[in-house]
Symmetry: C2
DNA sequence: CTCAAAAATGTAACCGCTTACATTTGTTAA
DNA sequence: TTAACAAATGTAAGCGGTTACATTTTTGAG
């Protein structure tokens, strides 16, 4: 049978309270020789505290919940990796729940919260969800939200600087490469990242004095297939743009496919810009020009934030923090330079 | 304050035992009208059982642990997704632990087992690890191992049919495409998947009466960079092979890079074959010929196996199951047909 | 050496649910 | 009607820790 705290107390001739104190993290008042004796016996019996009992007694689980949207591709692996690494070094376990055919984000979240299964939650919200606000308001476990969203200002938020990323790369395309006929394939309409990327795009155009053409803004869905479809539509327009700015690399890859099958050469006939800088982009030919997003940084930062919150749970005074992760530009060969 | 089972018992004028029975899963002996009353009050109070208390009382957690090797790329996302989906529908939570700079597989495993944090574990072991056997022997939580490994025959195992996959594609290359000068870039020497893929490769050659050249078997490390390096070495041999079989797609992608920079055209000057069929391969040009591995199937199958085990925990008689997930061939354009 | 304060340890309730066993209530057959 | 048995419910002891409060031991100033 597994050794319990009672066994140790017995063998050491002390009470369970003393054993608990000697073995606990917080520096408790135990005489050094007593502590040593307890530690030794504990080792000898190969004692491991039962975390279930500890959880119940302390109403705490040392676990962090990570709620992800429908998982696909590199992106999420990086997030999980970043979160896991920080969680682990902070002494937390990681419970993940991704939404899929049988479950949505809110359900995952509720599952965590209702059962007090985790001490805190990292929540990645790609787009607005009806019940979400209500759920968040009803349970008061610390939450860190990953997304570029302002409806949740009272929570800690970690977001990619989508606006800046899009603005920079479009600005570069205009100013340094002399382009002005730039179209965009957005993500799904409700998606926050997509919305901000679009704002960056329009702002850069506007600041450069370029009129925005609504017919050059096509809605995509962040998938490769979706990119293919949208690109085909753009390439069959009577008045074609010179550049397609896809709201993510997946769709940019779709553009490569469509261009290839429609006989458009990149970058001579059509230029492509992506967003995310996933591995895939490095293998597209010509190399994809895109916006670098430090994905695992997002996971790490949110976890750090959450853990800080958990460590100061009583101190309600700390203001919600909003951290923006900045992006960078990756210059590939998928956008040509125009001679003006 | 959150409602407890006591509050319900009070309000309903029954004992906590009855409430517990009425609310529990197993069809207990409670009079219908009593059950109804309890259910009603439970709803009214918005009662949610405290899972921590339940865990302690039942010494069970309804959680499955998933231990992954160093996470990178598509592959693992698919596994997590598959596991999560099945775990969820079986009423289990998913706790993941990946090894990384600060932790290795055995540590993750120990963490789960020592603290009785999970009811069972799904363990992905890429290569032999000293303490592993010992750890597994010492704790008797149900374990499902994902890998092509025979040292652990007494556990449930789910494995990719690496041998068959490699054999088939090499055989196809020989028989249908008339190649005979086929080299291989393996994975890290200790890696089980790699070992079996190599066996499939050598068996196919041998069966076709082709002599195996040791100098055409180069060790790689499953990374893109590693593939690049190994490929360069092969391409600078005095006697070059016509085909390079990379033990995974990542390395195959590296081969593309190396071939490009050394001026070798695929498939005219050198042919490339991969393994895994990750998304990336679809974007290589020419399209990569590779072995399809149904990754999320692996996750799903192992989880089903584990849950079955957990549901029949007492029944020790069930023999360890060894399930092989079969692979398929994806024919791209990276291997030319020789006229013999 | 004495005594008050500080340090160390002990006692036992508690976290909220489950469940073996005891008790009460209901049902059925003679 | 009643004995015998089944069904429904109650009692209370866990599960294995934590911790408020009580008690004992140690320490050190006077």
């Amino acid at each position: 049978m597994k050794a319990t705290i009672y066994d140790i107390a017995n063998k050491a001739g002390v009470s369970t309270a003393t054993v608990s104190r000697a073995l606990g993290d917080k520096q408790e008042t135990v005489r050094p020789e007593t502590r040593d004796r307890i530690l030794q016996i504990s080792n000898q019996l190969n004692y491991r505290p039962n975390s279930l009992a500890k959880n119940l007694a302390k109403s705490t689980t040392s676990a962090i919940g990570l709620v992800l949207p429908e998982i696909q591709g590199d992106f999420y692996t990086e997030i999980v990796k970043g979160v896991d690494e920080i969680a682990f070094s902070g002494g937390y376990h990681l419970i993940v729940a991704s939404s899929h055919s049988r479950r949505n984000i809110v359900e995952s979240l509720l599952g965590f919260m209702r059962e007090s299964l985790v001490d805190g939650v990292i929540l990645m919200i790609p787009s607005m969800n009806g019940h979400l606000e209500e759920v968040l308001a009803n349970y008061k476990i610390p939450v860190v939200i990953i997304n570029d969203i302002h409806a949740f200002d009272k929570y800690d938020i970690v977001s990619i600087d989508n606006f800046q990323g899009a603005y920079s790369i479009i600005n570069y395309t205009i100013k340094s490469l002399n382009h002005s006929k730039i179209s965009m394939i957005t993500g799904p309409s409700g998606n926050y990242d997509s919305q901000m990327r679009k704002k960056g795009y329009t702002a850069a155009l506007k600041d450069a004095g370029i009129t925005i053409r609504k017919d050059w803004i096509i809605e995509g869905d962040f998938t490769i297939k979706g990119g293919e479809l949208a690109c085909s539509r753009i390439l069959s327009l009577k008045e074609k743009p010179d550049v397609i700015f896809a709201a993510n690399d997946n769709m940019a890859a779709g553009c490569y496919n469509a261009s290839e099958s429609l006989g458009f050469k990149i970058p001579e006939d059509i230029c492509i810009i992506g967003f995310d800088h996933i591995e895939l982009g490095n293998f597209l030919r010509p190399k994809l020009t895109t916006v670098h997003v430090p994905v695992s940084e997002i996971g790490k930062t949110s976890t750090k934030l959450l853990i800080k919150r958990l460590r100061n749970k009583d101190d309600k005074s700390i203001e919600p923090q909003h951290i923006k992760i900045s992006t960078g530009i990756i210059i590939g060969d998928s956008v040509s330079k125009l001679n003006n």
